[in-house]
């Protein structure tokens, strides 16, 4: 079974990495640069990443900068609505540690709300940086089997290891 699982997992990872559709959730000001990232100059759709409408039919959340307490609830709901496997990119300094708005009483650190795969520094990051983050996430998915370890997990070595350790 192991020999069969490997190519299947590879294909799943490959397909998922080239189909990272970010959900339309704008959390703060970096949304401007997100819009530019998918506009003609950079056209991140060529990486197979197409911004789409709803949490149910997408698989990536791009956190655009600061997350307020009010927005954190929406972020959590959106993330929970999303089917597995799902990925999160934290965009901007605010998503890392509050950025320019450190000490603000209405901000939440996004990594306390959802698990984040990739961070992008900058305030706001250039759109090129976001494109690179998508590219880096693709590579990470393929290398670390982020998409397939849950799917067919019982077949893989990683799944076995998890079982043994527990």
């Amino acid at each position: 079974m192991e020999s069969l699982a490997k190519p299947i997992k590879k294909i799943v990872d490959w397909a998922t990495s080239f189909s990272l559709w970010p959900v339309h959730l704008m959390t703060a000001c970096c949304g401007c640069e997100l819009a530019v990232t998918y506009a003609p100059r950079l056209d991140t759709e060529r990486l197979g990443s197409l911004p789409f409408t709803h949490a149910r039919n997408t698989n990536t959340v791009i956190i655009e900068g600061a997350v307020t307490k009010k927005m954190a609830r929406a972020l959590k709901v959106t993330y929970e609505q999303m089917p597995h496997p799902k990925f999160v990119i934290g965009m901007g300094a605010c998503a890392i540690d509050g950025g320019l708005f450190y000490n603000s009483y209405n901000l939440v650190k996004p990594w306390k709300v959802v698990p984040i795969n990739n961070y992008i520094p900058g305030c706001p990051p250039r759109p090129e940086a976001l494109t690179q983050a998508v590219y880096a996430l693709q590579k990470e998915i393929r290398e670390k089997e982020l998409a397939s370890y849950k799917f067919l997990g019982f077949l893989s070595r990683r799944g076995k290891k998890e079982k043994e350790s527990s």
Partner: protein, 345 residues
Amino acid sequence: MGVIATLIDLLMWPPVFYLVIFPGFIFTFVLLIILIWAERKVAGRIQMRYGPLEISPRLAGALQLVADLLRYLTQEIIIPRRADRFPYFIAPIAAFVLGMLPIVAIPFSPHYYPIPMNDSILIAAALTTIPPLLTILAGWASNNKFSVIGGARESYLTAAYEAVILISIASIVLAYSTLDFTKAVMLQEQITWGILLNPIAALAMLVGIMMATSRFPFEIVEAEPEVVMGPYTEYSGIMYGLCMGISYVRMFVYNLIFTLLFLGGWHPAGLISTGSFVVDSILVPGAIVATKAIVLSLVMVFARSVYGRYRIDQALAAGWGFWFVIALLSLVVSIGVKAIIGWRA
């Protein structure tokens, strides 16, 4: 060995081959992938960008849809707790399959059809009207406000476009005086293409198809800024992939019907004769019909890059107030045409 041979025999048995491979399930699926890829590529070219590319730079990103499909296939399927489970689950699957079903009545050449029947136009036209009902069902079963609004929009639009499409089919059938696709195409081979016989009916049917398959500018049921994804809002994973495919499948099937009724079907195929039965009566006519339908589909898909979308009341006003009247007018034209053909025949 015997089992495999039997299976191959079964697959090559014309009705099964027809439904499963060409032009049935597999062919339509491949077509779907190419069509959506082409849509994204053409839109990209017009919009000063590339569209999908990096996945397979040498094939201009043609594998993009394969990746999207596989991603949907391996994604989790979430069934909301408040949803009505059975209809929720069955609606998109049934809509996809039933959307493809009219193919049983559509011949690809005088000798290549799954089931011989005399009333094939009637049956094909009747079968195309089923999927909208399932779309409405999907919207209702999802138990989501946006889905319900989307379903309601679909139910309004269905009445409008079905009337236009069915009346324009009726009017061209009136001109041909037959309910058989094969005879209709043969008649077109003798006289001229249906689009020249009754251009008004052809135009009305084209607009009806655009409305029925939610092409721009009639993409109202799934209008994103208003109702998220309309009836399909709650679907995830491959269920959503199916939902997305429904309109493309229906568009292709409608375009096949349109090709046979108005674009002369396999018309120039009679000019080619190689002597081989398979080539002459299956491959060449089949390719001609499919090509015509695909080109038509591409034109429809292209409208996305040029138009915005209408409001529901504007679309309904256009459907009932203008195109319905045009369709009725085409009946009159057909009577006139019938008179002329009748004299000649």
